[in-house]
């Protein structure tokens, strides 16, 4: 019978971890302004500069979803779908963080201001 854990497995674990950090690099090397983007059906419908928001406000891309924005953070605060994975994602506060509501096709993501993400677009 095959072994439970072999030497090759160590390389696989290291490989997966290294690969995930390589994916993280474009999110890290960005300037400090936090720009949140709201996508609906794949189109950007709203952008917030989270660094410049003073009071907590809400934004509704459609009648089923409420997105809350405050200084330095954005979240789904309610959704009509029953599992509410998007709401459970909580506040997004750092670049590269993303939350998605697939039933409503709404995605919120935080990107660095000014520069274009060279890998994803």
């Amino acid at each position: 019978m095959r072994k439970l854990f072999s030497r090759t497995d160590i390389f696989i674990i290291i490989g997966v971890i290294v690969l995930s950090f390589i994916f993280l690099i474009p999110n890290v090397f960005k300037n400090d302004e936090l720009i949140a983007q709201v996508y609906a059906d794949g189109e950007i419908v709203k952008e917030f500069n989270l660094s410049e928001i003073d009071e907590e406000t809400v934004f509704c891309p459609n009648e089923n979803i409420v997105i809350s924005v405050r200084n330095g953070a954005i979240r789904f605060s309610s959704s009509s779908c029953k599992d509410e994975l998007c709401v459970n994602s909580g506040w997004l506060t750092a670049k590269g963080q993303t939350a998605a509501c697939l039933p409503q096709k709404v995605v919120i993501t935080i990107k660095g201001a000014g520069k274009t993400d060279m890998i994803t677009y």
Partner: protein, 175 residues
């Protein structure tokens, strides 16, 4: 007992495996969202069943149960869940078949579990990107899901190693 391979035996065996996979995926859906764990991430216990079939039964039965799982997700959780379960399942079952059948690669069960978990997440992520039209999900969610796949791979790989001996006894009864 008649040792000839009959259709009835095959159906009965696949019925047991299908019930096992579906009840495990239902069990997983009861786990509440935990702090620090990416939302929607699961230990992937029902994949142990398809990985076992890939290892001990055959490509046909492994894919039948993978599709049954996707159909169950579709009935209970909607089309989005069905597409995500299907894409992730087909990718990870293919990976399990290739890895478990190869004699050259000396990968342990944990390594196979990790690669299957990564493939499963990749399939789901691609479907999520296509459905939402947002490719930023790959860099947003991908790294966290991949790190999490190492953990779930440990769990499913170890579980697979533990269940192969008793489940192969069932196979011998039904073959």
């Amino acid at each position: 007992m008649n040792t000839k391979n009959s259709t009835a035996k095959k159906v009965a065996f696949l019925g047991i495996m299908g019930a096992l996979a579906i009840s495990l995926s239902f069990l997983e859906s009861l786990i509440p969202p935990l702090p620090g764990v990416p939302p929607g991430a699961k230990p992937g216990l029902s994949n142990v069943v398809t990985m076992f079939l890939a290892s001990s039964s055959g490509a046909g039965s492994a894919f039948i149960i993978t599709i049954l799982k996707a159909a169950f997700a579709g009935i209970t959780r909607g089309t989005t869940a069905m597409l995500m379960s299907g894409a992730g399942g087909v990718l990870s079952t293919t990976a399990a078949l290739l890895l478990l059948r190869s004699k050259k690669l000396k990968i342990g069960y944990i390594g196979i579990g990790i690669i299957c978990a990564v493939c499963h997440n990749l399939g789901q992520l691609i479907v999520a990107c296509v459905l939402s039209g947002t490719w930023a999900l790959i860099t947003g969610y991908g790294p966290i899901l991949m790190l999490f796949a190492v953990l779930t791979g440990f769990i499913t790989g170890t579980a697979l190693r533990l269940v192969i001996p008793p489940l192969e006894k069932i196979i011998n009864v039904y073959n």
